[in-house]
Symmetry: C3
Subunit: 291 residues, 3 copies
């Protein structure tokens, strides 16, 4: 029975740091295990490019055998329940199952019925633990540690798995975390701040994707209006602190959350985050399948 | 040139038993070959989760290299004929081609034109040899042998590949086999019996999926009506013999063919069947590619 | 940083011959490298069976780890730009990226921003270098060399990547190349000839697929009319030179470009071309990733 990864709030800080340490080793090409006798299974019930294929590359780099099933893309399998589908793949004797599903905490109905380790690739508006881990790895590579750093998470907070997970874990690691954005996107339970002030004082400006596909009604402002009021414009970038960095979980709506020309600027760590995503996923896969 | 697996009626009983013996060894983790120099190709012209991914896992467990093409899911390739598509993959030099197609005996037009071994993953309403093999393996694990056992195959007989293949091979192995279900689903050529009587006297109650997608017109009764009259209800299960088991090829229409709560009860071997599916597919793949 | 393969006109004749020499060795099973530490990524933004899966088989035969993403088939990922999608996979640390895209010279915006080697699997109506290489390999296997051979490329020239690439490279290798077909399909810049005369005098009759999907309006003649006027009919085949061969990049519209019964006749090398496609793709993959 492997070790699940469902949400970061389940993990002690020590465990999180241990995962980051392994990811950093993999980043440097050190001590990469060979799991050629293990089978990983990717079940993405919601579309995903970045998370799914990042896991896929991580699995391949660990030498795992990979089975990928895309119910979201295939429109097959309409009549079979989520539970029966996962249980089917578990019956095949796979070692780890990576799942993305639109239902929050979808995994609760699986626990105790599944032998494979479950790795959460995103549940509804709930958690996205590997995204947070790759964010943390990117921050630690930049600043060496976490305590005392200030991060502003800006934009579509309410629809974001990343915001919720990061807010909790970053505070636990001693960081100052604030949210910013239009009132319709904020949550009362999360501390917020004026965006312009936050940009000037933060070490990390983390912009979130406007998830148009999750909005029941259309957003009350246009992309251009959002960019002017709450996007990281060329002008705002100039007010950032000297060593401050720009992060974004991607895909980016260019010229909405972020000015197009900032995407690969010196401060941007967006493609670096994607690179680190492979290493943290290797670390959680190792944790899931090694005896 | 490898050994095709087209339908079980082509195989001597000895060959069937030899395949089950190998599958049982694989089940116990014994003598698993490494075919890392072999390429398996999965061509599913009709949607399938269980069969396709079970073959996929089997191929991976044998160390094979795997190419998967899903014309059913992709809606690509509309203009190219079935023959030319299969011949294309054969030209690439693959060793085994697993095919599912809606045409009965689709393989006849390929024989003699293809170098790879063909493994039939289901042809129309014709045959589904690996499903029968996994059923046989599950029965033998339970009862040690076949002769004298009674199996009732119940439900949508007329649309089922499994019913036809199992009826023939189980009788050949010395089992008593009867069918049961509503008149519209039965076939004159297969012996049938009252369902309630069959449930009380059978060692194996094998429920079939109602294949709504294959019915030209809608079924004359609702799912609930079917369940009461011909489904394995909680009440009927209580009338089963002491050591009798429940089987179903899946996916199950819960509360139609089978009461939801019986799906994972002590008698149920449904997920066990899926598990065994990997082992019998390993055995027929080995048979197909080994020299 | 690996070696891109974008278009054949970038390559010296010596390099082309070197690729064919390696492909011929792979065809004979000689000196096949093992790149189990390399990851190949297939990104097909336009549908493809033959090219995509031929690359896939080639990657597997080289022992590479393979990631396949089908935006064309999945209808996912609508909002993310081509550049960001490719850059994402590059960030994952893959070694080679095979791309097909409908934009001519799509690769120009990637060069200098991508670490992986780009292998062009077809760009718009531009180039299709591996198709030309497999054509050349097939011709060399047949005739031993290129100089002095005559090839007629017939049919839908204007929509064909193959025609453009082959015309240039075959002339460079000392072959006589002419085009033939209805006026609406020809290009002024490419020499053309009467089809019947060309068939009688050519060593290679290369028929092209009528790409109905690329025609803005419907073709002015029916498939039957085309076949009579510009197709390789049973009658025309009889006028071919003794050792002359028939080629076609496939998929074939049977009885349009080519009489159905000629598809696997003694002169036909169509499935041979597909076979050779794997070997030339192994050669360009090796060139791309070996240090």
């Amino acid at each position: 029975m492997g070790k699940h990864l469902l949400k970061l709030s389940d993990l002690h800080t020590d465990e999180i740091i241990a995962i980051l340490d392994r990811a950093q080793m993999f980043c440097q090409g050190i001590d990469i295990p060979n799991f050629s006798d293990k089978i990983a299974c990717n079940l993405f019930f919601e579309p995903s490019t970045r998370t799914q294929y990042s896991f896929n590359v991580a699995e391949e780099k660990l030498g795992m055998r990979v089975i990928s099933f895309n119910p979201a893309a295939s429109s097959l399998n309409k009549s079979e329940s989520f539970y029966d589908t996962v249980k089917t793949f578990d019956s095949f004797g796979v070692d780890a199952i990576v799942i993305r599903h639109k239902v929050n905490e979808y995994y609760n109905e699986l626990l105790g019925h599944i032998d494979a380790a479950i790795l959460n690739g995103g549940d509804g508006t709930g958690n996205h633990p590997t995204q947070s881990l790759l964010d943390l790895l990117t921050i630690r590579q930049e600043f060496g540690s976490f305590a005392g750093l200030k991060c502003v998470i800006a934009g579509d907070i309410v629809h974001s798995r990343v915001a919720h997970t990061n807010y909790e874990v970053m505070r636990r690691l001693g960081m100052e975390v604030v949210t910013a954005g239009p009132a319709e996107f904020l949550e009362d339970s999360l501390e917020s701040e004026d965006f312009d002030h936050a940009v000037k004082t933060a070490d990390i400006v983390m912009m979130l994707r406007i998830q148009r596909e999750r909005h029941a009604a259309s957003m009350s402002m246009s992309g251009e209006e959002f960019h002017r009021a709450y996007g990281l414009t060329v002008e705002r970038e100039k007010t950032m602190k000297d060593r401050a960095i720009i992060m974004h979980p991607a895909p980016v709506n260019r010229d909405v959350e972020l000015a197009d020309c900032l995407m690969e600027c010196d401060r941007a760590r967006i493609f670096k985050q994607m690179q680190n995503g492979v290493f943290v996923r290797m670390a959680v896969l190792e944790r899931a399948v090694k005896r």
